[in-house]
Symmetry: C2
Subunit: 200 residues, 2 copies
């Protein structure tokens, strides 16, 4: 008989191993850490996990996860409601918020168009975005989908859908990543940087 | 106002960020993954976490985590009860079991002597190891503490404690790590390899 850890330990390793970036070795290390951790800390983690499923829903307006009907951003009167930044995922909102530069609102698509994976417009929150524009007051929609084939395709689809609605549709700039060097840039970055060049 | 994710999301990031090897970035990525994951999977993880605290205790004999009074290894009649391998942590048992080479029993110290951290013999499961030897039937105790200063110190302390009990005390071999090259070995590995050299 090969010794395998009994029930609950094996279950925890298996569940941890399903998380992205956590392989069997890391799952084992984390499990042993948690076995030795104070009961209160492990309970706190278990409770936090249940809480995100029990008390988090999508913001009625921008579709990002929130505890309330409207998220903190949509309910903040100091945000500029005339601009909507469209992103693929909630984590993209977090990344943009960290810049403390953008003062408009967001719209989270919860994915991108991916015909090969059978993800079409109806799988995303595009209907709700269209409703927001119909409700009026929006002057600009910034496409902030990922700079990938599918992200670009999604932005292109949306821009042709939204353009007839009398709203300005823009997209994030492409170019060299700040802080890096030319030698590390791939061809597409250099092409973007050349095409998007600006006068001093 | 800087936007911070509201209550439960921030809690989960904080709790995940307390795990070893999981920094703020990874905690954020995992949280967003779990927000999008099916409710059942997140519940399964939460339940597995609670279960290791609710239903796991230490094996009465070898002190490794188990659901039962005796762990799977101690209760397996095919294991050789005359040999006990002493390790620091439960994960060391798992590592040794993966080799499918050792057929004796284990004893988990749950740490190593570390005077600087105020960890003395009474913080480890040394009493229980002595009791096992007093109960008789043990012929050999293999020291498999980590090849570190504190692990070696613990093994030395134990060997002087156990030697008068009429039991053979051995320790794991030191030498070159299989699969590596001489050029990558540090001086201590080479010293160990020379001192432990064997005839063909």
């Amino acid at each position: 008989m090969d010794h395998e850890p009994s029930g609950p330990i094996a279950s925890l390793m298996r569940e941890l191993g399903k998380l992205p970036g956590i392989g069997p070795k890391t799952a084992e290390r984390l499990t042993h850490h948690l076995l030795a951790a104070p009961r209160g800390r492990v309970y706190a983690l278990a409770d936090a996990l249940r809480a995100i499923k029990d008390s988090i829903r999508q913001c009625r307006q921008c579709c990002q996860p929130t505890e309330n009907e409207l998220c903190d951003i949509c309910s903040d009167p100091r945000r500029d409601g005339s601009v909507i930044c469209v992103v693929e995922q909630p984590r993209d909102v977090a990344a943009l918020e960290r810049t403390a530069t953008y003062r408009g609102l967001y719209h989270v698509l919860h994915g991108r168009l991916a015909p090969l994976d059978n993800i079409g417009p109806e799988q995303l929150t595009i209907d709700r975005l269209v409703q927001r524009l119909r409700a009026g007051g929006v002057q600009e929609v910034i496409m902030a989908t990922n700079p990938t084939l599918e992200g670009d395709g999604t932005a292109l689809y949306l821009s042709s859908l939204l353009a007839p609605m009398g709203v300005r549709v823009t997209r994030l700039a492409r170019g060299l990543p700040s802080g890096s060097g030319l030698e590390f840039a791939n061809s597409q970055m250099l092409v973007d940087a050349l095409e998007g060049r600006r006068s001093f």
